[in-house]
Symmetry: C2
Subunit: 129 residues, 2 copies
């Protein structure tokens, strides 16, 4: 049975308020501001639980794992500046994708487009972080 602890609430609320896609370290630093003595282990444990419970989502990028409270979209990752942006796709497109994969019992489609963002376009040769 899940307990709705202060820490759990704060982690959820903090992530919900984020429109960028924090790493676990960034999230920890954010939460520390309001909640001085929260333990590092609590963040790890809670985040992992929330992922399992499907409350939040992992965003798997070349520079590591980021987290997102919102689940109705996909992501773009810039190989030059590492910035992550939301990508909204029609359900129809995803249905098509699932259909042509011949898979069933899919719980989640992890989809990250990797490339060069507009503001990095034209800069010198890129380097994956």
């Amino acid at each position: 049975m899940e307990r709705n602890t202060k820490q759990r609430q704060e982690i959820i609320e903090t992530l919900k308020a984020c429109y960028d896609h924090p790493t676990i370290k960034e999230l920890y630093d954010l939460i520390k501001k309001n909640h001085k003595n929260i333990g590092q282990a609590t963040i790890y444990r809670t985040i992992n639980n929330l992922v399992k419970e499907d409350v939040i989502r992992r965003v798997e990028c070349p520079d590591g794992i980021h987290y997102d409270y919102r689940k109705d979209h996909y992501h773009f990752y810039c190989l030059k500046c590492s910035k992550i942006t939301d990508v909204f796709l029609d359900n129809k497109i995803i249905d098509n994708l699932l259909l042509s994969s011949n898979l069933n019992n899919i719980k989640h489609v992890n989809l990250v487009f990797e490339g060069i963002c507009d503001s990095c376009k034209g800069k010198s040769s890129y380097e994956i972080k």
Copy 2:
């Protein structure tokens, strides 16, 4: 200028011979069998270089990073048994996906379907590793 060292060759050849999707640790253990005194750091350095050079591919899964020499396909990850299987999709489907994303300068589409595989279907409640 890249040097085609024995170590680099062996890492590429070993990964090329793998039809599962080893983690860096698994790959290291495999290579150790033939090449007793290869250093751990060499594996990390070389694998990271090969990813940057686009010779091999990272497969980002809930249980961590796996690697694949082959690049013409996508993946399915079983949330119960953690097995990774190849998923082949028509270019047309991916073109459609890219088109409807409105993105340009995409170098790579990282696509992992997560769900329950056929042989795990019917087992007790699943747990993400």
